[in-house]
Each structure stands twice: as C-alpha cells, then as structure tokens.
Amino acid sequence: MNKSLLIWASAIILLVVSGYVVYSVVKSDSANAQSPAQSERQAEPTAEPSAHYTSVSSTNPEHLEIDIRWVKGNPEGDIQIVKFSDFQCPACNIVRPHLDRIVNERDDVYVVYKHFPLRGSHMYALPAAQAAEAAGRQGNFWDMHNKIFADQSQWSRETGQQVMNRFRRYASELDLNSEQFEADMLSDEVMRIVMNDQQEGGNLGVRSVPGVFVNGKTIPNYRIYNDFLNAVLEHK
C-alpha cells in the first residue's frame, strides 16, 4: 500500500475512533450516570437524628432513605430530588435555579437540600452551611440559602472575618435573633447535622458537588434547564 495513504489513513482512523470514545464517555456520564444502588450503602451508623428533621409522606421505594431537613415542593410527590451541595461551589449555584423552577412548574416533585461542604477546596463552605442551618433554626433556612448563594462570587473572595460579618448581616436582614443565630452557628448540634449530611452523601457515593439524585439515581450537572428536566424525567 502507498506509504502516504497508510500514514494518513492511520491518523484519521485514530482521530475518529478516539474522538468517538471521548464523546461516548462524556455522553454516558451525562445520560446514564447511575448511583450506587441503595443496597450498596455502607451500614455505618449515621449520627443520631436531632429533633429538627422533616418527614415526607412519599412512599415511593426508589426514593433515598435519608435524613431530610430542608424540603421544597410537594413532599408527597413521586419525584424526589436530593441535592448534596456546597455553598461555595459554582456548579451548585448553577443547578439551584433549575431546582426552584422544577418545583414551581411541577406538583409531583420535592427537592431535598443536603450539606456536602468540600472543606479541602472551599474554605467558607462549612461556615456557610452552619449559617444556613442556624438560620433554619429560626425558620429561615431557604431565605438564608438564597442569600448565601446569590452573593457566592463575592464572599468567596473575602477574608474569613468579612465572610462571618456578611453572614451576620444576612441574619439581621432576615430579622433573626442575632445572639441565637451566632450561638447556633457555632453549636456542636449544627456541626453534627452538617457532618451527618456529608456522611450520608459519602455513603451514597457522592464524590463531587453538587451530587444530585433523582429517585435514587445520580444525574450529571446541567447548565441548561431543559437538559436537567429531561434527565429528571428519565428517572421518574
């Protein structure tokens, strides 16, 4: 065979095949990501639940059996979306409006927020989770959650003191009892709740954030709402 032809044919075949492999890897990550089955969950005991857990009345066996504290949407809904999330993670912020929108548009969905602060790479993720939990103690988890996420790109660059002052300011804007907020934020109980969430996420195989589960199956992170919606409906 002609040497030139052989060289070029090999190169083109190599490019096409390897390009297709990369495409397939990304596509399968995007479309078919499966969660570890619930049966694979480690049997490690989680921290003892506090009195602050919410119960949902859904009986769908595909739903994750986890401690649920913060829920949006219809708790009787057939679609359970669980988001293991880090307040300092931009991708978690990208999926946030998708979750709000799906809850507004559909009455068969409920969304559960779970903490998964990546303390190794996001130094304010843990204090942010503590601030949200502390606000939750005074009935304002979601408002605090929204405020923290809304200004994520700003406080992520601030100093530790500035961040704490900012969270205190949010608490006062939400008319929270500031002493109570401060005490709760630093309390062992709140820390235990956050760690409990993280442990549950770890047991479910969460390795990066956000870890989003739809009826027990993980889905990838989507920037575009319709892609997200399609992935949710696939697991309905």
């Binding site: 990369v22 931009p90 990546l118 790479s121 660059r157 992170n221």
Partner: protein, 140 residues
Amino acid sequence: MKYKTGFILILILSFAGFLDSLYLTFNHLYGAIPDCGVVDGCDTVTTSEYSEIAGIPIAIPGTLFYLFVFLMSVLWFDKQPKWIPTLLTGLAFPAFLFSAWLVYLQLFVIEAICIFCMFSAFTSTSIFIISALLKFKGTQ
C-alpha cells in the same frame, strides 16, 4: 534535537492535548461539568466566566489547535516539509502565551485548579518548546 524524535513527541503531545480539550469541549457543549473528584476545582474553573470568550468555549479553539498540530506532525512523517517547525513554532507561541494566561487565571483569579486545563497548559507549552528546538536546533 533530531527531527524524528521531536515530531514523535509532538505527535504524542498533540494527540493527548486533542483528547483532553475534546473532552472539555464535549462537557461544555453537553452542559456537564467534568468530574474531577472531591478535591479539585474543575467546577469552579469550567463554569467560570473565563471558560468562554465571546460565547465560544475556549476548549474549542484548543481542540482545533491540537488537531492542526497533530495533522502537521503526520504531514511531516509523510513528506518532511522543511517549513513545518517554523509554522508550528509560530502557532504554538500564542498558544503557549494563552495557556500561561489561563494558568495565571486559575492560580490567582479563579483560585481553583482544573486538572484537565493544567494538562492542556503542559501539552501546549511542551509543543512550543519542542517546535522551537526543532526550528533552531533541529538535526536530521
């Protein structure tokens, strides 16, 4: 440096860079975020405002750059044209500068590291160095 050795290295590096940036491109187009595990900042970097320029994901020109360099290396193995080291040096220099800027952004502006992006900086820098060596010190 011998031309043959240099072009084998460029061929390997451009192929690896092509796969790397193709992976980032597909992830961007699919709206997905590369899974770099718990300790990395891939989400921060690939969702940052710097991941696109004028609406074009920067991984796309990266993919085209590596594809072109790969094809030029193949052309060298086919016909050994003398102008290829000059062309590659001219092309790899802006790519190297662009990579240096992206590394700066990751380290000092975004303050997060995306391992796939750093790998691309490594491949483009290496391609530039080898191309320049071939242009100025290349031997048969």
